[in-house]
Amino acid sequence: MSILLETRGLTAFYGDFQALFGIDVTVGAGEVIALIGSNGAGKSTFLKSIAGLLRARAGHILYRGEPLDGIAPENVVGKGIALVPEGRRLFASLTVEENLLLGAYCGRPGRWNLQSIYALFPALRERRHYAATALSGGQQQMVAIGRALMSNPDLLMCDELSLGLAPVIVREIYAALPAIVGEGMSAIVVEQDVQLARRVSSRVYCFQEGRVSLSGVSADVSDEAITQAYFGAPA
């Protein structure tokens, strides 16, 4: 399997506060990996660094073998990397459809357009002229995913899709994931629910205090190892 994205010793700061201490992660073409870890472990920071919203202070991000270091955030999506941000962050003064159309702003060709998004999430079609923030939390998350897909990414990064949603809604949203990544798209999924994260991914990385504390094949890592990596102490 060829490598789509690779980070080497990635380091990031918020001002003087160091959030990432040399992260090494690889994502293969067509692969889904999961990032787990407690709040503040650096998972969202890692995704923001790749999306260019946070400039890495040291280390490298290699995408298709080329460095992404120092690229402006508005140029990242054109390379085929899309982020579904934590908390959805929909544009409040735009309708559902306008949010989706803005996702296509970079003009990358591919199979995702309004019709295929509505086919994936039929609930959005009948509400397409509603203000995006007038929808339920689950439907807003569908808009956020659809908005990211409209850029026809090769790498989809999802930051805590389950945040603030009822378990039944979370299941419904994750049920769409196989259809999304089915045609060779890679994905990085940040998820608090460890069992869910392992089920949807082929490999899993556990973050702890800005470092990777465990990585392995999702089906093989033991619960004990995850507990240790998650909390930093034997259970």
């Binding site: 402006a72 990242v76 054109g78 735009l94």
Partner: protein, 287 residues
């Protein structure tokens, strides 16, 4: 009865000019939450650019105005990209201070170059021509101003509501960090918004300079009218700004009827009244 109708009609025609002053201000505030205290001075600056084009370069007026629109777009883009983007943040104070500084610089540079004399743009005798309808005299120039304001309000509503650029304007106003994930540079979007605002300012400047003589220090007074129209109408809505300009124009015209010294004053009174009774403005809605 005819007097009342005359006050309203002349007020609407005057208000069209104020609405035009205010539309650029409304756009800039709507997209980047920037309170541009140099807005009036930008109008005056473009008046003098137009004067230079017709008076020194001797271009025909129509050509000069067309060229002014192009110059204005470029100047607006450049001012935002090189200066105002540096102070654009959640904190409104840095951009207030910078635009305040720009205002002083523009006034003094204009005085240095053009002296303090008021100047107007010669239009032959177009500015004094009028038609009489049912006992009311309607000036051609005010009618053209009204038509321009209505057309530009429609154009802005279309630009914001129906085009990809308008979507990017609104989305950038909502969340300028996340909009970058869609491939939109908020710095470039802000610069484009200021470019469009300057085109509106250029139209206002051209019509204003045909109507009356303008001196380099007139900017702050124009800024006040623009502010009042925006706040009476409601922030961030082009039709609100339009209505705000009309309300201000009618109030001033009514004041002028009672006493020539009362016009401006009554406009301020109506502004204060709206601010007290309906601080969100008459038509509040984000465009």
């Amino acid at each position: 009865m005819n007097t009342l109708l005359n006050i309203v009609v002349q007020g609407v025609l005057l208000g069209a000019l104020y609405g035009l002053f205010a539309m650029g201000q409304s756009l800039v505030f709507g997209v980047m939450r920037l309170t541009n205290t140099a807005h009036g001075d930008f109008i005056v600056l473009l008046v003098f650019v137009l004067f230079a084009l017709t008076g020194f370069v001797h271009l025909p007026l129509a050509v000069a105005i067309a060229l002014l629109l192009v110059i204005a777009f470029g100047a607006g883009y450049a001012v935002q990209y090189t200066i105002l983007n540096r102070v654009s943040s959640r904190d409104p104070l840095p951009s207030l201070i910078v635009t305040f500084g720009l205002s002083i610089v523009i006034q003094n540079v204009l005085q240095q170059v053009f002296s303090a004399d008021p100047r107007s743009i010669a239009t032959g005798s177009f500015e004094s021509k009028s038609i009489a309808l049912a006992g009311i005299t309607l000036g051609y120039l005010p009618l053209v101003t009204l038509a321009a304001t209505v057309a530009l309000a429609f154009a802005m509503q279309w630009l914001f509501g129906r085009t990809p650029l308008g979507r990017a304007f609104r989305a950038t106003s909502d969340d300028r960090e996340i909009v970058q994930l869609m491939g939109v540079s908020y710095r470039r979007t802000y610069a484009l918004a200021m470019g469009v605002a300057f085109v509106l300012i250029a139209v206002a400047a051209a019509l204003y300079s045909m109507r009356t003589a303008v001196s380099p220090t007139d900017g702050p007074a124009l800024l006040l009218y623009a502010f009042e129209a925006v706040i009476i109408g409601g922030m961030g809505s082009f039709w609100g700004t339009f209505v705000g300009g009309m309300a201000l124009g009618i109030a001033q015209q009514a004041g002028f009827y009672f006493d020539p010294g009362w016009g401006i004053w009554l406009g301020h009174v109506v502004f204060l009244g709206v601010l007290v009774a309906r601080p969100q403005g008459l038509l509040p809605k984000t465009a």
